[in-house]
Symmetry: C2
Subunit: 192 residues, 2 copies
């Protein structure tokens, strides 16, 4: 069964991601529909590869226009770990283990990267990328957001992303920057 | 370009795995050819899913009969981490980080699992599975083998798999058990 309509769909299992994206695109008068389907994704160290594999899976069952996205957290002192496997590592090890791996490490630099594909029709899609640099905190702080937010302090801030409400996080975060670009693009192109 | 011939091919990037498998199948008079091609694999917590995705990728470019394999190391106290991402985690974090995550942990239980698919022709493939239970050592020991061998002590042994030569490791290891089954199957079926 294919889905039809005049909204943009966001294919993700993660309701937090949907809510963040929905707020941002809402400011562009774009209605985002949540499609909580699992889609196959390949193993690769490159978010772009994974996103393209999600496009290929999703196009079989979801009508364009739709968005797929993938996020990685790259910690410099850990050679980029957990990288694209951030959600797997979060589920298996959790944040205390990440702090433990870094407990004697002075270099706390890290980078969150979100890559998204906007699938406009079955032949055209466009890739967007949002990044935020920052540091891994020495302890968990804050209860908002999700995932690694309690240990990630964006550059220029003294609080973690879990100490920000959704509006503030969206202004600074990788995903906020990604969906702002998508909103600008859609608004400029009058695609929806 | 497709590859033809009357040997069995092993599609893997890992020369250590090829040598182990070649020794075992050699005892069944099966000649194993190394095909060091990268093949796409999906993200999944199930080795079987990953192996099937490798079959789908490899069948496009390699003539049967061929074998694809995937291995995971599942550490009980880490909820199964690193699991199917063992090689990624090895490359990014290395063994000292695994020992650090377990430094105050008394439960050292772990399990190595190898799953392989023998692709007989473009319509038929068969899945095999080899397992070995054991413990994570408190320090690295031995210089043979590869990957996690220096920290894995098989049940019933007091040395790590890196303290065993290839013949001894093959008798006890997950991959040894996997390829012994494949050898028995191929010999019994007179497929090669």
């Amino acid at each position: 069964m294919r889905r039809g309509g005049d909204v943009v769909r966001f294919v993700t299992n993660n309701e937090h991601k949907y809510k963040e994206a929905s707020d941002i695109l809402g400011a562009y008068n774009i209605k985002l529909e949540w499609v909580p389907l699992p889609v196959d994704e390949i193993q690769s160290e490159y978010l772009e590869d994974i996103v393209v594999s999600k496009v290929v899976s999703a196009i079989e069952v979801v009508d364009p226009p739709f968005i797929v996205e993938d996020t990685g957290l790259f910690i410099h002192a850990l050679n980029g770990f957990p990288g694209v496997y951030a959600s797997y590592v979060y589920k298996k090890l959790g944040l205390p283990s990440i702090l433990k791996l870094l407990e004697k490490t002075r270099n706390r630099k890290a980078c969150f990267i979100a890559v998204g594909a906007l699938v406009i029709d079955s032949h055209i899609f466009k890739i967007f990328r949002g990044e935020v640099y920052g540091e891994i905190a020495r302890e968990m702080r804050g209860s908002q957001g999700f995932g690694y937010d309690p240990i990630f302090i964006p550059e220029g801030y003294d609080k973690t992303m879990a100490e920000m409400d959704r509006e503030e996080k969206n202004r600074v975060s990788h995903r906020g920057r990604l969906f702002t670009q998508i909103g600008e693009y859609l608004a400029g192109k009058n695609i929806v």
